[in-house]
């Protein structure tokens, strides 16, 4: 590694060169903005890929009977849709935002380890090519759901080792991104930028990064054990050799629960940046927001088995996980109340980012309510593995994480490109998306309660109406996203010049608004003035 050490330092030698030209600029870049852009574009592409898979699922479910795909292929679609959306769309998009914004927000010229930053991005395209290639293998891609539960997943053909290696590569990429963020935030803050002055987006990402480095090894270990069980005759999860298939579930969810918070905590940060700006008021309860995020992070380690209420845990276990899970409602509630209090008596305007932020608060709270219902173990014996669950987690992930990403994109797009986006198209995108997302997912609550299990390619006729409605919503939602892609394209190409402040009064809400739009290739070669920092909050 001595070579890398040398090069990391060496990278600073090139500060005085502008960006290289052409394709190689992007391959060799160590610039946090370039890498952020790459991450964001990858996230958007994978959002469309995963979305296309969702549309295959919804097309098949439009009416009862099998019309288009074989059930085995359907299962591959549900599996890959989830893996791609989680690891391909949402996580890279958040990593992209972190790369773009964190150095600008803490007053640093770049990320702490630019070379590693490049590597952690460029692992992703290879991972996704590998994952997609499994679709064309003998026996098809993994079809056991994104949770990859054994023994079912061990019936996968040649795709299993590729899927497992994809997970390893994705894990490596996220770990390097997380470590980079931790090191950057701890060592690269501008003088005067204390921890309690960090913008909430940075705080939520730091906590996310800690969650990532804590749980990624568990997932890596668990999938490796799947591999050794299948190919090397070990019996970690094989009852025949004295193993336990439920152990995998414990390991998976020990990773998986913090993982879902990895998907939502940065959204909290984004929403906490946007609401104060458009309410023209400081964020209410900054300190309690930080503590609430940290306690959500901590709680996420001790509630995992609420995903497995039906595996036959001892009664004491069921009750413990019920109580622990219910507790999460407290810090989450604090966050929602703080956002409400921020809006209260503000002078609100409703540009697209604010619309998305408000929709986030409303719809994420919906997902929170169903989450609270599911935390109650006896009730979850009914909800478990039904469409009620599907509705719940899509409410927290689509109008939650994805809406936060939309909001962030509209909020910072003028800063990134130097051009205002098309407000009319933005609003059109917002209304189409918000209405269709509800048409898509709200009826799923009903079919779930009425008894439709999840992950089935075909269903009994009494569920037909709501499923048809849900499919219509999904298609409208899917195609509305083309508007989003077009708005971004248009803003990159040109448009009304954005000021450095972009939004009225934004300067009070973060250092990034003191840089010109678009910001210089290296952000804070000029240290932010102490007075700017002390004015924050």
């Amino acid at each position: 590694m001595s070579v890398a050490t040398h090069d990391d330092i060496h990278a600073h030698d090139h500060h005085d060169h502008g960006p290289a030209k052409g394709f190689m600029r992007w391959v060799t870049t160590t610039n946090h903005k370039d890498i952020g852009t790459l991450y964001l574009i990858t996230g958007l592409i994978m959002f469309f890929v995963g979305g296309a898979m969702a549309l295959v699922i919804r097309a098949e479910l439009f009416e009862p009977g099998l019309q288009y795909v074989d059930p085995h292929f359907f299962n591959q679609m549900t599996t890959l849709h989830a893996l791609i959306m989680v690891f391909g769309a949402v996580m890279p998009a958040f990593a992209g935002l972190a790369n773009w914004m964190i150095p600008m927000m803490i007053g640093a010229p770049d990320m702490a380890l630019p070379r590693m930053n490049n590597w952690s991005f460029w692992l992703l395209p290879f991972a996704f090519v590998m994952l997609s290639s499994t679709l064309f293998m003998d026996g098809g891609a993994a079809a056991a759901g994104w949770t990859l539960y054994p023994p079912l997943v061990l019936q996968t053909g040649n795709a299993l080792p590729f899927t497992v290696f994809t997970v390893h590569i994705l894990g490596m990429s996220s770990i390097m991104a997380a470590i980079n963020i931790i090191v950057t935030v701890f060592n690269m803050r501008a003088p005067g930028m204390t921890m309690m002055k960090l913008p909430l987006f940075v705080w939520t990402w730091v906590i996310t990064a800690f969650l990532l480095i804590a749980v990624m090894p568990v997932f890596a270990g668990a999938v490796t054990m799947l591999l050794t069980d299948k190919y090397f005759g070990t019996s970690f999860f094989n009852a025949a050799g004295g193993g336990d298939p439920v152990l995998y579930q414990h390991l998976f969810w020990f990773f998986g629960h913090p993982e879902v918070y990895i998907l939502i905590l940065p959204s909290f940060g984004i929403i906490s940046s946007i609401i104060p700006t458009f309410s023209r008021k400081p964020l209410f309860g900054y300190a309690s927001m930080v503590y609430a995020t940290a306690s959500i992070g901590l709680l996420s380690f001790i509630v995992w088995a609420h995903h497995q209420y039906t595996v036959g845990m001892p009664l004491a276990g069921e009750l413990y996980f019920t109580y622990a899970t219910m507790l999460i409602a407290v810090p989450t509630g604090v966050k929602v109340f703080n956002w409400l209090a921020t809006m209260w008596k503000g002078a609100m305007t409703f540009e697209t980012p604010m619309l998305y932020a408000i929709a986030f608060v409303v719809l994420f709270t919906m997902g929170g309510f169903t989450g609270l219902m599911m935390s109650i173990s006896p009730a979850d014996l009914q909800y478990h593995d039904t469409y009620f669950i599907v509705a719940h987690f899509h409410y927290v992930l689509v109008p939650g994480a994805v809406f936060a990403l939309f909001a962030a994109t509209y909020y910072w797009l003028p800063k990134w490109t130097g051009h205002m986006y098309d407000e009319k198209l933005g609003k059109l995108h917002f209304w189409l998306t918000t209405i269709s997302v509800n048409i898509c997912f709200f009826p799923q609550h009903f079919v779930g309660l009425a008894g439709m299990p999840r992950r089935i390619p075909d269903y009994a006729v009494q569920f037909a109406e709501f499923n048809a409605m849900s499919s219509v919503g999904a298609f409208v939602f899917g195609f509305s996203q083309l508007i989003f892609a077009y708005v971004i394209y248009k803003a990159i190409k040109g448009g009304e010049k954005a000021t450095s402040e972009v939004w009225e009064g934004a300067e009070a809400h973060g250092l990034e608004w003191h840089l010109p739009s678009p910001p210089p290739y290296h952000s804070w070669t000029e240290a932010p003035d102490q007075s700017l920092i002390s004015e924050l909050h």
């Binding site: 070579v3 050794t228 090397f232 009852a239 025949a240 050799g241 004295g242 036959g312 001892p314």
Partner: protein
Amino acid sequence: MDDKELHKANARLVWRMVVIALLMFGLGFAIAPYYDAVCNYFGISGRVKEATAEQALKVDESREISLEFVTVVNGQMPLRFRAETGKLKIHPGQYYTVNFYAENTSDKKLVGRAIPSISPAWTSSFLKKAECFCFSEQEFEPHKERKMPVRFVVDPTIQADTKEMTLSYTFFDINEKTQTIKN
């Protein structure tokens, strides 16, 4: 750093990467025998004998627990597996022997392994076995039946309101597994 030096450094890096790739590839082949060796050394082979030596316990005649025996054959294993009795009323502290029978209904030799499971799960620590066929490999000649005794006791310290327990054995085909590995 001039060009010549850079060129040298790059060449070195390439060589290092090639060596690392070869090592990783080799490790892939080495890991299976290595795993076996480690397991043999530490005695982790998954073939743990769960039986403990018989000890004298105070028999609690006043209490009776209904113990149910369940047999399961996993997958497509051609085995007819049953317990001699479906249910037994037992006193905690007293030793009992129950015979299990398994018949190979195929023309081929079978190797199987039985895994116990106890319900309610928390009672499993109270059911102690002095003799058991579980976890060890069992061979079945074609069309032959084998008798496999289980000798056990329920610890008298078990919670007073325990009235029912279920002991299940599931037979897994080990042949199948060794075959898939060879493939």
